[in-house]
Amino acid sequence: MSTQVAIELKNITKTFGNVVANKDVNLTVNRGEILSILGENGSGKTTLMNMISGIYFPDHGQIFINGEEALIKSPKDAFDYKIGMIHQHFKLVDVFTAAENIVLGLEEKGRYNIKKSTAEIQKICDKYGFDIDLNKKIYEMSVSEKQTVEIVKVLYRGADILILDEPTAVLTPQEIKKLFDVLRNMRKDSKSIIIITHKLNEVLEISDKVSVLRKGEYIGTVQTSEANESILTEMMVGKKIDLNIERSDVEEKADRLLINNMCYVSREGVKVLNHVTFAARSGEILGIAGIAGSGQRELLESIAGLRKLKHGSIIYNNPKNGNQENLRDKTPVEIRELGVRLSFVPEDRLGMGLVGNMDIVDNMMLRSYKKGKGVFLERKGPKDLANKIIDELEVVTPSANTPVRNLSGGNVQKVLVGREIAASPTVLMAAYPVRGLDINSSYLIYNLLNEQKEKGVAVIFVGEDLDVLLELCDRIVVISSGQISGIVDARTTTKEEIGLLMTKTDGGEKNEQ
């Protein structure tokens, strides 16, 4: 194996507005080497790779390829430097065959002859051990087959440096094993591979070197042979920061929601939730920590009645009459009437909670449209509520009749949370409620959640910032690949402990046996 440097990054910095996505990152990858890039969500891994593959252009710093400085301004430039990126979201045409997708857009000489091209592609597949039917249509393929097509596509275009953005996130353990075999074959063929992941066991299994990013900053690179899980976790999560979020103690606690053995299988056949069991208590904020896409969204939506479970039950202890009720297979309306409220802030804030083009009053009415008599709407109640929310939560808006689309992210969030709280819920679920908010708005939301907790509401808080989770929550459920890897007391646990639990995958370990 030669130790020639294939790609080197020097002091790469990239900012988006005021946000520093990458700061002074240095990396080197040799030929025939696999480098893992490890980091939490939002640590800038994907941004960094996008700069190598020509989607972004760095503000500062240099990229060297085979020892020469390279200016990569577009995906085409990257391709000319023999860099290929396999994105998390595949770029494939569904009704085309694998072979058609692989040759798409190539300007080869000679007549277009898909059979001849297929034969050439097959050679590549045989060389690296890909097992795939090139004449199969993409829409008939499983996720792992689609990923294989993407990898073959990049190889067919002659890439020497391959970047894989979280390639294992959607694969089963068997498929991951297959993928790793292929990656090892490519390493033998002196290709350079960069793989983005946050699963520690995979990092240790496949890579030669690990580079760690944290909040955009380059922390360091270690040889995998000298690393272990605790070293990497510490590099990844860093030291604890004090935020001074209030946390009140509530004496009386009762189990409000019992999640038993919850299993959910997505339409693609992936097990998103796997035997999830926990209890949410009244007078308590239950944190849910996990790498993005570990099943948090599916968990909350299942409780809210938006998804159909494969197994398990959701037992709700009704505080009004003491009855136990199973929320599974109930409609969202039935669940809401029992007092379970979901305040969901997905990536698009205005997606599930509010209607952007409608004003604050109308958005209040989305919850009360069934009330009132006759065909005409009852507008007074919602209007009073809108004004009350604007006053109490200090929503900055010209009037209650302003379309919520025109409000800033923090104010939209206040309107949404305000409306959910106004319905005096018994269970309040909030997913990433402070994402994108400034510090003041964030604290306001924390206070609101605390207030609800003191009123005896069972609050479920899905968060991404571990520091916040540690200070705000009473208990933290850590979820990893759809499984609960631990339930910890937020008062006594450490950041490292949660970090380790977040990256623990049982699937990978089973795979080793």
């Binding site: 391709f79 770029k91 045409v93 009704v95 085309f96 040759v103 798409l104 277009y112």
Partner: protein, 325 residues
């Protein structure tokens, strides 16, 4: 009788074939041009304008020019329509449905305005323009067709535009399935982001296929006036053939080769009421409805089959722009 029916059905079907192959080309790039009715109308009137001006300016017509001038003016007219649509939907990313419907209204208005003006210019009492001389050149069929009996009548008795329509449909079918450029075009209509990432110029492909598709559709209008209607233009006589052409696209499940068969079937269904004796007016209208009914049935069947190959291009009707991520 049967031979005559088939012949008329084919002649009736040719404008639809032009319209639907043009529309298929457009739709394969992911653009749903509901303005096809207007494009075909403009294609027709532009040809009429060219022919009218030429007939007025010379004593005896040169056969080559008599065909070439209307042909070119028709193509320019429909290209102009295609360009309007392309600028609005591709460059400015306007809503395709609204743009298309507006284009239909505009095209019909454009045609009726110039049709009316020419009628005034010609100074005749009848509300139509007669271009019999030009039409004769357009209607020229193979000289030996008459001598071959029913075979000649069914297969060889048509004008060059009719054969051109079939040829274009076949060439397009080969283009989609057997060429690199066709593959690229289909990928633009299916998934422009993927095409873009593969280095295909999405805008270029969209513009080209919209413009070329409009020109082909416009030829349907020209064929209708010069051949089917024997060179007589009267306002609104074109009817709803543009919409039939769009229905035919669905019927042919976006395949130009199926469109050939479909156009003849649609043509036949459209005129079959003339060949059934003793039909009342209302029954005639019911028969004229059958192509649409057939289209709905086809839609129901392909929806039930759920086969992805039978579905419209995936990004049909959606504008594409490379997002800043």
């Amino acid at each position: 009788m049967v031979v005559a029916f088939i012949q008329r059905a084919i002649m009736q079907g040719i404008p639809l074939l032009f319209g639907s192959t043009g529309e298929i080309l457009t739709e394969k790039s992911g653009n749903l041009n509901l303005g096809t009715a207007g494009v075909m109308y403009v294609g027709g009137i532009s040809g009429v304008i060219g022919a009218f001006l030429y007939e007025q300016s010379v004593e005896t017509l040169n056969p080559v020019l008599a065909v070439l001038i209307p042909l070119l003016s028709s193509m320019v007219g429909s290209l102009f329509m295609g360009l309007i649509y392309a600028v609005l939907t591709v460059t400015l990313r306007a809503n395709q449905n609204v743009t298309g419907l507006a284009l239909t209204t505009f095209g019909v208005g454009f045609g009726n305005f110039f049709g009316g003006s020419l009628i005034k210019l010609s100074g005749l009492d009848v509300p139509s323009i007669t271009l019999t001389q030009t039409s004769l050149f357009f209607k020229k069929s193979l000289p030996f067709a008459d001598k071959l009996g029913w075979f000649g009548e069914i297969f060889l008795s048509y004008s060059f535009l009719a054969y051109a329509a079939v040829a274009i449909a076949i060439v397009m079918s080969v283009y989609f399935n057997r060429t690199r450029s066709g593959l690229n075009l289909r990928s633009v209509g299916e998934n422009p982001a993927t095409a873009d990432a593969a280095g295909i110029n999405v805008g270029k492909y969209k513009y080209a296929s919209i413009c070329l598709g409009s020109i082909i559709a416009g030829l349907g209008g020209l064929y209708y006036v010069m051949d089917y209607a024997c060179g007589i233009w009267s306002n609104d006589a074109f009817g709803d053939r543009g919409w039939l052409a769009i229905a035919l696209v669905i019927f042919a499940i976006w395949r130009p080769n199926l469109s050939i068969v479909g156009s003849i079937l649609f043509g036949g269904l459209f005129i079959v009421h003339n060949y059934i004796p003793n039909l009342s007016m209302s029954a005639q209208e019911l028969f004229k409805m059958t192509p649409y009914v057939v289209t709905i049935i086809v839609l129901v069947i392909i929806s039930m089959r759920r086969k992805r190959e039978y579905q419209p291009p995936e990004s049909l009707g959606l504008s594409y722009f490379r997002e800043e991520r």
